[in-house]
Amino acid sequence: MRAVSVEEAVAMIPAGATVMVGGFMGVGTPERLLDEVVRQQKSGLTIVSNDATVPGKGVGKLFDAALVSRLIATHIGLNPKAQQQMLANQVAVDLIPQGTFVERIRAGGCGLGGVLTPTGVGTLVAEGKRQIEVDGKPYLLETALRAQFALVHAFLADYLGNLSYALTARNFNPVMAMAADTVIVTAEHIVPVGVIGPDHVVTPAPLVDYLITNPNG
């Protein structure tokens, strides 16, 4: 793990990159990284995120700045800007059931080709997918999902990059931290090694590539 400034980290993300962003309705989302993505105007992004939050918050900021060309998500109903951009064909949106979304990412991070899920059988979600019977029950083959970058927000990060999360801000963060080539983390608090006890580390340090330093030293 290397500690870097938020400017340096975002400079590594090319325009058009595929980027996973942790958070659920903007809770547990790395806001400082997204602010910097907007400042550096990284456009044409494919964003993998549970939802589009609301304008002005979380990944909603990326839609405000029209930086997204494709969104893979489970729900965008609370962001009218994302909906407008979808209906105007400015943004391609893949809507995925939430349990399938997280399992596809988990598969991507765990070396699995995909998962078999009963969710979506007999619905629009099944279109174009392989259906496989196991012991007489139908399942959809849902393939693994990975990204070039994962932008993750933790509650505590220690100097090595061990992470722990708080309350409902955990959500997709630990799963996404497994499923990207480069993992960039912001934390509410950066703490000395040992403050997070071994039993309380959720994301082990070797998974983290970059930790964003505090702006004021």
Binding site: F24, M25, G26, V27, G28, N50, D51, T53, V54, A73, T74, H75, I76, G77, L78, Q83, M86, L95, P97, Q98, G99, T100, V102, E103, R106, T117, P118, T119, G120, V121, G122, T123, L124, V125, F155, Y165, A166, L167, T168, A169, R170, N171, F172, N173, P174, V175, V202
Partner: protein
């Protein structure tokens, strides 16, 4: 008593001590208000919490403790938090005893449509498809009709949420179950006759010899 309260009170009677319960948004959320005191029900919020408590007092909200809509909530003693993989493993894995969801349409065989209106409303399915596929019991809590049109239909013309039938539908007029895969009138709302329910229901209903009134 207004329509929503009738529905929420009746659905609350379906919950048992020790149940793990997931409530959808809208009318389902109101069900928590009518759980009898002393009944120990665990409510799950699919963003990663079992043991959701009431909205915190002004000034006590925590930005990292919210419901699935991003609104501040509290956590009861004994609550637990977890990531989304765990949350949906609980849902899909059959560990959730009851889910209560809103609906746009339910058909004569118990199929639910509740996630999109093509060309009009495409918000995404969120957790709904996993909940209907995986929870032990699926209860739909919705108004019987919208804009004068029955929401209990012969066949859904909106996209289905799951091929799996729901367990029970509770409306402001009736309780409908699906024994043998056929919509069956199980109860009527207070002061509502069987004939009145049939008159405003598009789907054909099986009418048992006796149809009791809801006790709410």
């Amino acid at each position: 008593m207004d329509a929503q309260e009738i529905i929420a009170r009746r659905v609350a009677q379906e919950l048992h001590s020790g149940d793990l319960v997931n409530l959808g948004i809208g009318i389902p959320t109101l069900v928590a208000n009518y759980v009898p005191p002393g009944l120990n029900v665990f409510f799950q919020s699919e963003n990663g919490l079992i043991g959701t408590g009431p909205i915190p007092e002004q000034g006590l909200a925590h930005p990292l403790l919210t419901d699935a809509g991003g609104r501040p909530i509290s956590a009861l003693p004994g609550a637990s938090t977890f990531d989304s993989a765990m949350s949906f493993s609980l849902i899909r894995g059959g560990h959730v005893d009851v889910t209560v969801l809103g609906g746009l349409q339910v058909d004569a065989h118990g199929h639910l449509a509740n996630w999109m209106i093509p060309g009009k409303m495409v918000p995404g399915m969120g957790g709904a498809m996993d909940l209907v596929s995986g929870a032990k019991r699926v209860i739909v809590a919705m108004q019987h009709a919208a804009k004068g049109k029955s929401k209990i239909v012969k066949q859904c013309n909106l996209p289905l949420t799951s091929a799996r039938a729901v367990s029970l539908v509770v409306t402001d007029l009736a309780v409908i179950g699906f024994p043998d895969g056929k919509a069956t009138l199980l109860e009527t709302a207070p002061g509502v006759s069987v004939g009145e329910v049939m008159a405003v229901t598009d789907a054909e209903l099986v009418i048992p010899d006796t149809v009791p009134e809801m006790k709410i």
